[in-house]
Symmetry: C2
Subunit: 260 residues, 2 copies
Amino acid sequence: MEPKRITSPRNELIKHYKKLCKSSSERREKGLFVLEGLRVVTDLKGMVCPRILLVTEEALGKYAERLDEDFLRTCGEVIVIDRDIADDIALTETSQQVFAVCDAPVRSSPESYGGEPLVILDMIRDPGNMGTILRTADAMGISVGICGCCDELSPKVVRSAVGSLFRVRLYAGGFEEMLGAVHRKGIRTMAAVISRDAEVLGRVSLDNSAVVIGNEANGIPAEHTALCGGRLTIPMKGSINSLNAAMAAGLIMWELSGRK
Amino acid sequence: MEPKRITSPRNELIKHYKKLCKSSSERREKGLFVLEGLRVVTDLKGMVCPRILLVTEEALGKYAERLDEDFLRTCGEVIVIDRDIADDIALTETSQQVFAVCDAPVRSSPESYGGEPLVILDMIRDPGNMGTILRTADAMGISVGICGCCDELSPKVVRSAVGSLFRVRLYAGGFEEMLGAVHRKGIRTMAAVISRDAEVLGRVSLDNSAVVIGNEANGIPAEHTALCGGRLTIPMKGSINSLNAAMAAGLIMWELSGRK
């Protein structure tokens, strides 16, 4: 069967794609997000099938080995687009003229938390940090709670999270709701802070603990810290500005995972 | 004394500034680099004094509290520039119309290595990763060897390294020269690899060890790994793509620091 073709940048589907790139509420409402580049193939394999694949004739030829029949058959719809449309909708220089619209990965409710190792992100706002944290959580086998964070389906987060978005268990909800669910499982919550009198990472056991990581600029609000069962700090030899939020979260997740 | 003024974008000093932004060889040759934003004040304080401070009238007024007399007196030269020149030379939206030309921090030769905890970066190419690694090394009190990496004085690295560039001891040289100097101090070298049969981070002692971190895309060349005394891997539960180079380096530095 010949694939469908789009030649006009004013086509409704192209407008829909661009809206999904830009608008968090559009992504939520439709339960869809976009992915760009050959990572469409590598990141999604075995996890999710694109609803729509937009690809140029040129890319279909150039990447025929990866965009093979087997893969194309898994896509809901394959649509060939003109080169200038590809250039128009691309957000990166590495788009490779391959684009997909996919079903959003499932967000679990805090109530469904099962007591496994967890970090809770309280207002992480930088998409790069969010992506790095999701990717590291994936490596460490740790679940992630998100409260008031940037949209995990924004193209920037998706880009830096690689396929981890689909592998990490994500709980989304309000901070108090999240903490309540964690406490009900008998898990202790620790607020990651910069402080001389908090418990020290590497010296305190994190068995049965979940750790809260705060906003890049402002940390965790005092009223949220007050709700936690304890406070945790990373010992530092240099400046207190020397760890960014993603790195701090990474070291904490490494310890939460039992360093193995 | 009235400060000097520059109103023409074709002024030689402005050209010099722009060349320092762009050219690694220019920075090396002149032993200078550039820093942008009020971080000129915060990052450098007590470590290095700007040779030249370029600032608009507007910024001098707006940030008078931080760009105070005491600070301005430490600058070799303070030059007032027009707003359009500031817009022209700014690399970020947060330039705050404040720019400095500074002496490059000292790079030590591998021969001067003293046996302290060390990571060796073998062809790290992403400026963001380089900056994050320097920043984390600062926090952990670890020295950094750089072999064939991106320029640590490029504006992007300087931006993400914050003031750490001046606090971390940096050794620069060829890979074999670096390894030779480390081995002569009786320090074991470990190549960080993705492998099932390497020694495992968290289970092996890193006392008296230096760890080599490889290129983002290609890892450490086989001939470099062969020169190392051992191989080290980070245990992962998720995908092997789940840790980026900076995060892997961070976890390794945390263990190298003795987790304290």
